[in-house]
Each structure stands twice: as C-alpha cells, then as structure tokens.
Amino acid sequence: MDIKLEKLLIKQTDFSLRADLTIKDGTTAIIGPSGGGKSTLLLAIAGFVAPSKGSISIGGDVVTDTPPAQRPVTLLFQENNLFPHLTVFQNTGLGVRPDLKLSKTQIDQVEDALNKVGLADMGSRHPSELSGGQRQRVALARALLRDRPILMLDEPFAALGPALRHEMLDLVARIRQEQDSTLLLVTHNPEDALRIAENTILVADGTAMTPQPTAALLNNPPPALAAYLGK
C-alpha cells in the first residue's frame, strides 16, 4: 500500500519538517541525524502529530484527519510499547480487542503470534521480567495480530546488541513478507538499512527527501548524508 505525502508541512515549537514524496510497497528505511524529524514523520503518518499544511494519503485514501486507530497503520515506539501492569499475553491480546474480551479462537491467535516471535511460554510474565529484546518481540507479536497493511518501526531495536538486532530485523522482514505489508523503519544505522530496505529516505535540514534505492544512496551520499555518515 502506497503512502503519499503531498506538500506536507509539520510545525512544532522548535523545528519544522517538509515532505513531498511517495513511499512504495516493500521496505523503506528512514535515516538522518538525530533531532532531524525522523520520528516526527512516523508520528504524522500514524496520526499522532497533525500537519499544518498538506495531506497524507494511504492506499489512495486521504487520512490527514483520520484518528490514529482508524488508520491502516501499526507504529512501534523506541520504548514503552508495553503496559507494565499487564502480562505478556494481555499486552499481546490488546492487538485483537482493546477490551481484552477474547473468544477461544482469539486466544489461540494470541498464542500463535507469541509462538511466532519465540515467546511461547512467556505469556504469564510481566514486562519487567523480560529482557529488552523480548519486550520488543511482544510488541511485534501484537503488531502481527493487528495485521495492518503498514508497519512502522521507530528505532525499536536501537538498544539491542548487533547479533540480536540482526535477528530481530530478520524477524520483522519475515513478518512483512508473510503479511505483505509496507514496512517503514527509522534507523541511525546504515547497515540496518542495507540489510532489509530496498529504498531509503534521508531526513535532514528540515526536509524529508524522495526515497532512493538504499545502496545507491549510501554509496553516493549527498552532502547532508555524507556529513552524518562521517564520510
């Protein structure tokens, strides 16, 4: 499903971000210096930040004024993706029904999702009893259940070690393929982008640039990206 940002302007107290671009099916990475507006771009697409100008459309429908829950989008945050007082099972089950009144088949679905992310026996634990990687797996399991056409990740694996991060990225890539969804991923690591993203958007100097093939962009970086990469 395509995401189209037309003449988008997002203004916040201390900075502004412009975007006029289309994100195609497949996997797209968002890269750029911190504080440049990468997260803001995702928040706008998910409906948490209202643009001052321009429009956002997803799969041909204009969603600029649609509330977050009605957008075909799941967004995973850097942290706090889980409610600390709910169990792993409950946190995951929220993806099926926010009031957690689950039928027998729905319970099976939740267990299945936990299975897929490798947390089969952890359903009764609380988030505080999990490692950082396991917590983000719970969030992924919930994203699986929500089954939205667009999955967006805001550096959810930034705190993990390289091996674990790669493992998680591969898991995400697998999920994307399985669900045939559009994946949008903020990262500060060019390696990650190369690993799973065909296209990459550079966000720098208050502008989100048109997506470019990742390898080409990284091999021949424009000045802003070169500065960020230290090349």
Binding site: G47, N81, F83, L86, D99
Partner: protein
C-alpha cells in the same frame, strides 16, 4: 538482578541519624514532659472517647471525599489544554496554604447562612443554606484538601509515558478501556498515599470541626487536648489523648504505606499530553463542567477573602510592617530548616532502601508522624522542657522555626524521596563508576534532579509557617507580633475589618512566597 549495595556515605548516615533523632525527640519529648509534669493520673471520659470516634469518622469521610472528587478534576486537567490552565493549577496550591480562620470566613461568604448561595436561594423563594454540622466540616476539609489530592493525582497522570497514550489510540481503546488499562493502575498506586496524607491532615483539625461542626457533637481529639491544656490544666490527659491520636495515625499510616507506592509532589504539572480518546463532545462538556465547578469552588472563597480585606487596607497600624518582617523571618528560617531536615532524612531513607528495606520503611513512617502531632501538645511540651533551662523568649525564633519545619517535614519528605530514589536508580551506578562522591556528586547529579521538588517543598514549608499560630503564641516575646497573631488580636478587639485586611496581606504574602520558591525550583528547567 542484585545490585551490590555501596556503603553509605558517612555524611548521609550521620546527618540522617541526627535528623531522625531530632524528629523522634520532638514528637516524643513533649509527651514525656507533659506526663512528668502531670500531677494526677487522668482518666478518659466517655465524651473523650466520643471525640476519638468523631475524629476518626470525619477524617475518614473527609479523606475519602477529597480523593474521590479529585479524580475527575485531575483527569480533566490532565487531558485538556486551555487558556488559564496554569492559573488553575496555581490556584490549586492556594486553599491548602490558607490560615484556617481565613478559609472559614471565605467559605462562609459563599456557603454561609447569609452567603452568596443562600442569597440566591432566598431570592428564588427557597430556604437559606445551613451547612453547619458534618456537611460543613466536610465542605471545609474538601476545600483544603481536594486541590492537594488533585495535584498528586495529576502528577501520576504525567508519569504515564506518552507512548502509552499513543499505543492506546492506535489500538482504538475506548475511554473506558483506557481508564481500566492505563489510568486505574496509576490511581491504585497513588490514591492510598493521598488518602493517608489527607487523613492525617484532617485528624488534627480543630477550628474547622468546631466552628462549622455546629456544636459539641463535632468535638475532635484536638479540641479535647486544647480543653485539657487550657481549661483543666490536666497535662496527663492531654498527653494521653495525644498518644491515642498518634497510635491511630500510625496504624493508618502503616496500612496505607504498605499498599501505596511513593507519591511525589511538585514538578511535571505543566505539560499536557495530546490525547486521542477524548474528542467526543460529551467528554468535552463533562471536563469543562468539572473544571468550571472546581474553579468556582476554590476561587469564590478566595475572591471573598480578597473583597473582604480590601476596604480597611489603608487603615492598618504601622506595626503591620514589623509583623510582616517577623512572619517572613520565621517562614524563611523554618523553610530552610524543613528542607535541610527533609534532605538529611530522605538521603538516609534512600540509602537504607537497598540495604535494610524494612528499616527504611520504619524511618519513612516516623518522618510522616509529625503531621499527626498536636501543635498544642508540641508547643506546651517544649515550653515545659525549655522554660527551666533557658529563656523561651530568647529561643522564640529557633523554636518556632524548628517546630514549623518539623510539621512540614512529611510533605517535604514526600516530595524529595521519590526524586532521590529515581536519581539513585537512574544514575547511582554511573556515579559510582565515575567515583563521584560527596559534594561533587550531590552538586552534579543529585541537585539538578531534586531542585524542582526542593523548590516546591521549600515554598510549602515557608507558606505553612507563615500562617502558623500554634507555637509562636507561647514563645513570642512581648512586642513581637506575627501576621496571624496581629489578625487574632484585631479580631479580639472588635476590629473585624482590619483583621480581614491583615488576612488579605497574609494570604497574598503566603501565596507569593510559595510561588517564588516553587518557580525558583523550576527555573532553567524544561517542563
């Protein structure tokens, strides 16, 4: 995960022990002194026990009501941003800081038999309002404490991570789901502590219970103590009653500390998280109605105090200036002391947390107890102790400052402890690994994280001390008048208008003092 406890810094240990010893002596010393001076063994009469029952009854009811009513107010404040929101949040600090007698007259101007509401009722042909009785006591206690609880709960709301609200929005949670999943768990952790605080504050209520309670039915333990001390000079009975009050408060304190997580004051009140669950018209109306009602409920008596005090303002004697100076001096000394005490004790408790959790719990409980201390017993007991060995007049300033500091200690402790704990958990190991010790550790890592609650508690201590009339009456040297003292003396000499003007000055100064400190703590902070 087991964190290897570091040995406690000796400065923290000794200053903490000294502060603890001081609090224990301050609370227990006067009781012992009263007992030793008591000439006859005292027996509690049935009316004393009735006073105990009524005290428990009204404090429980007042605390419950304040807590229940504060929830929708805090909820509305947490999810709405509007013009005047910061004014309303500031207004929330005001009632708690009002001297009791000033608040009573403010409330009567609105709710009294000739008050604003009664006038409206009379003009439409209805009966005038009669609040005297339990309803009057509850009205006043809710007026004092609802804002306090609202601020505490609001704090809890701002501690919910913004991601959780976004997550709920993305998952399409209804307001009801969101309440059950997000807000209720937060409330469960905060409400017991808030309840305890209000309960303790209401236990020692005296003038409110008597004046608005409508008669001896509304006799509290504090009044019985006053009677024993002033009229019957039965020191033993006063000590006995004070002890009962302590025991009750300790039981309640232990009970609610067990089920509560620490409640923090100050800080983080200005931010409003954008919410996606509250766009419905009905909720907007509901929140607006709640906020308007609370603004009116808190604001109207304050406006009445203002209006009542203005006319005679130019009529005040010149001695008002020295009274202002005296009051400010006492307030500032006492605020400084209170914060030093609280810092020492909070550091000590925090240091004990990782090593001896049970001991730290007891120390924390002791730190709360001065709230349950009867100011009359405290003042009289100290007087008995000090009078033989030193001139009470000469010690007026330090004693008044000390006692006021001790009384506001629990509030300061509540504000500082969570900040210190958070600081240790977040940066403790980092600081250890950098071998940051002593002063530089305090200055570089502790100070920046606690200055906000510190500013808030300094302001609170100063403000509470401004309105105090408990201890200064016994110790104040001749010619030395504080604002509350001058106000009472004017009332006693028929000068009600002038007394109202002094009340106005007192309230204005108190709020300014609080505001300055509270704001000072926030300066340079992004909130």
């Amino acid at each position: 995960m087991v964190i290897r406890p570091q040995s406690m810094n000796p400065v923290a240990r000794w200053s903490g022990l000294a502060a603890l010893l001081f609090v224990v002596l301050l609370v227990a010393g006067p009781l012992v002194a009263l007992w030793l001076r008591a000439s006859t063994p005292s027996i509690l009469t049935s009316s004393d026990w009735a006073a105990v029952r009524f005290t428990l009854f009204q404090a429980t009811l007042s605390a419950s009501l304040s807590v229940v009513l504060a929830i929708p107010v805090a909820r509305a404040l947490a999810r709405r941003s509007f013009h005047g929101r910061s004014i309303l949040v500031t207004l929330l600090g005001a009632p708690f800081l009002l001297p009791v007698i000033v608040a009573i007259f403010g409330l009567l101007a609105i709710w009294g038999r000739s008050g604003f509401v009664s006038q409206i009722l009379l003009s439409i042909g209805a009966e005038r309002l009669n609040i005297y009785g339990l309803s009057g006591v509850l009205l006043a206690h809710v007026f004092f404490n609802l804002p306090l609880v609202t601020r505490l709960i609001l704090q809890g709301w701002t501690r919910i991570p913004v991601e959780h609200f976004r997550l709920s929005a993305q998952l399409g949670m209804s307001p009801k789901d969101l309440f059950l999943r997000l807000e209720l768990p937060m409330l469960r952790s905060i409400l017991p502590g808030a309840f305890l605080l209000v309960f303790l504050l209401c236990v020692t209520s005296f003038a409110v219970a008597l004046t608005l309670g409508g008669g001896p039915k509304a006799t509290t333990v504090e009044l019985a103590i006053y009677q024993a001390l002033r009229f019957e000079f039965d020191l033993g009975k006063a000590a006995y009653l004070a002890l009962i009050q302590f025991v009750i408060c300790t039981i309640i304190a232990v009970w609610s500390l067990r089920i509560a997580v620490p409640v923090a004051f100050g800080g983080g009140l200005s931010g409003v998280v954008q919410r996606w669950d509250v766009s419905s018209k009905l909720l907007l109306w509901q929140d607006s109605a709640v906020l308007l009602a609370v603004a009116g409920f808190l604001g109207a008596p304050l406006i009445a105090v203002l209006g009542r005090g203005l006319p005679a303002l130019s009529n005040l004697p010149a001695s008002i200036w020295t009274a202002i100076l005296n009051s400010l001096t006492v307030a500032l000394f006492s605020a400084a002391l209170s914060v030093l005490l609280a810092l020492a004790l909070a550091g000590f408790i925090d240091g004990l947390k990782s090593r001896r959790p049970k001991v730290s719990f007891v120390v924390e409980g002791v730190g709360l107890l001065t709230l349950a201390a009867s100011p009359f017993v405290l003042g009289t007991g100290l007087f008995i102790i000090i009078h033989p060995i030193a001139d009470p007049f000469a010690l007026a300033l330090p004693i008044t400052a000390l006692v006021n500091a001790a009384i506001s200690l629990p509030l300061a402790l509540r504000a500082l402890l969570p900040a210190l704990q958070h600081n240790r958990l977040a940066y403790g190991q980092l600081s250890d690994s950098l071998d940051m010790q002593g002063w530089s550790r305090f200055r570089l890592t502790t100070w920046p994280t606690i200055r906000k609650p510190l500013g808030f508690s300094t302001g609170l201590a100063a403000a509470l001390s401004m309105g105090d009339l408990g201890v200064i009456t016994l110790f104040a040297p001749p010619d030395v008048e504080t604002l509350p003292l001058i106000m009472y003396r004017l009332m006693g000499a028929y000068r009600m208008d002038e007394a109202a003007s002094v009340a106005l000055i007192l309230v204005a100064l108190t709020l300014t003092l609080f505001w300055l400190f509270d704001r000072g703590g926030r300066l340079g902070h992004q909130t």
